[in-house]
Symmetry: C2
Subunit: 293 residues, 2 copies
């Protein structure tokens, strides 16, 4: 593997571009011409643990076809996926694609793609874009990859950035979904850091009420493990602001549709009622609307 295309110049797109550019020929596709120009001139600056390094990366605004590559990584938010699908469809069916989105709503989109090799990824890194060409790697984690369709070979050679290969894409995504469905909306609603969901006994109880509804809809086997995993994330990221809280504070669209919206769709299919999920979904959409005014 030599060439990698990365779609999306947000925090994850910049993080992946900066690391992978050490060993691969990376092309980053950005939403705006301004960002592409800026990165072509300055490179991408990666800040980590007090140090910073600038990496040379080639950037192109996403307005024409994407170049063929040995791997294309799609890092845009779930609610922007639809806009990039026409570009994806111009690639050959042999181009391996890796989708890194929160929630699970993107699975419906993958089903209809022509490519024969599709991977799914979840990211446990903390990353914050500070301007168009700079990213802070605030939490060193890992990237989990599983095959949705096709073999894993295309992706295995990546060496300089930690990747963990998972065998069960559904289990991998559900585990992340449960964490996102608990921590993101509750921290955004209460406007607290992740740790308060375990340190404040009342918030702990509301998180548990929410978890029980979600576990029933997703029919989680060994629900205890999912709950413990979510508590572990709250604890390890206790001083962090969740991405949804940041989105709300900065007046941006949240990923609530990809997260609780997906759970509502599953509940509707299974004819299960989810009063707390419905209430929470409406609450976050309403807060989004207030902030967007």
């Amino acid at each position: 593997m030599k060439t990698i295309g990365i779609i999306g110049g947000g925090s994850l797109g910049l993080l992946f571009s900066a690391y992978l550019s050490d060993c691969y020929d990376v092309t980053l596709y950005t939403k705006t011409k301004t960002q592409a120009k800026c990165i072509n001139e300055n490179g991408i600056t990666l800040h980590r643990q007090g140090e910073h390094h600038t990496k040379k990366v080639s950037a192109i605004p996403l307005e024409k076809n994407i170049k063929e590559a040995d791997l294309i990584i799609i890092t845009v938010k779930q609610y922007h996926l639809k806009e990039i699908i026409p570009f994806i469809k111009t690639l050959t069916i042999h181009t391996p694609l890796l989708f890194i989105q929160n929630g699970m709503s993107h699975i419906e989109i993958l089903k209809n793609l022509p490519q024969s090799t599709l991977y799914l990824g979840t990211v446990e890194h903390g990353a914050m874009r500070t301007n168009m060409d700079s990213v802070h790697h605030t939490g060193i984690g890992t990237t989990r990859i599983a095959s949705y369709r096709g073999e894993m070979e295309s992706i295995l050679p990546i060496v300089n950035f930690p990747w963990v290969i998972e065998t069960d894409w559904y289990g991998m995504l559900v585990k992340k979904l449960v964490v996102n469905a608990l921590i993101n909306p509750l921290t955004a609603l209460y406007r607290v850091k992740n740790g308060q969901l375990i340190h404040n006994s009342y918030f702990y109880k509301t998180m548990r009420l929410l978890f029980e509804e979600i576990a029933a809809v997703l029919k989680l086997d060994s629900a205890f493990n999912y709950w413990e995993n979510a508590l572990g994330v709250c604890s390890r990221t206790s001083t962090n602001q969740s991405s949804m809280l940041k989105d709300i504070q900065e007046g941006r669209q949240t990923e609530i549709d990809a997260i609780l919206g997906y759970i509502q769709t599953q509940a509707a299919e299974k004819r299960t009622s989810t009063p707390i999920v419905d209430f929470l979904y409406g609450s976050i959409k309403g807060i989004e609307e207030e902030k967007g005014d």
Copy 2:
């Protein structure tokens, strides 16, 4: 009727004292010596529609017995009622008492009082205490009174402040409870003014989900009327901050126990599940705890 005792120097206590002192000999019982001293020296200043008037009122800190009076009005918050009950019990059984609290948890306390004449009141005024001896009458409304026990005669002569006599105390309190249970916790959770619950379509939906749960627990006849009444209050007070939102913002205890706590008790008795009420109760208690830190 000549003499009126008023217990509680909060916004309602000051408002009632200021108005009733025009025609009656009013004694106001305050929590602190400082407030009593301040009112004895300066009187109570009532601000209304750009004007202000200062009324002479006699104030006493509540630490000894309460003087007998033709009517005693208890305006303290529900969560402070227990502290004043020992004083109430020193009054003769013939002293008429009027309780003005939000929610319905105080009914349990009334059951065990020895007095033969007990009234309940709900207030539709907007009032804001701006310092120890000043109150702003921000919304001109009415006071509804119903008998919980005994005849209405003692209270009928009051003339200079609008009173509406209701025949059904339970219906009167439930109507107010429903309004308080919808507007107070939701505005405190979302940190919005009352009108946003009807102007923001998502908040409108979450209010409706909450209403349906409450209507089922309270077995409301003609639920539509209660819903329309609550919408009317949101509309008429659209630019107001609810009392619970103010309590949260100022780090004070809220009345959530008297409001949603009462609904939870009713639900437990009737073995009805109330997932949204439980979630919302925990959310407000948790936010209270955050702010109280």
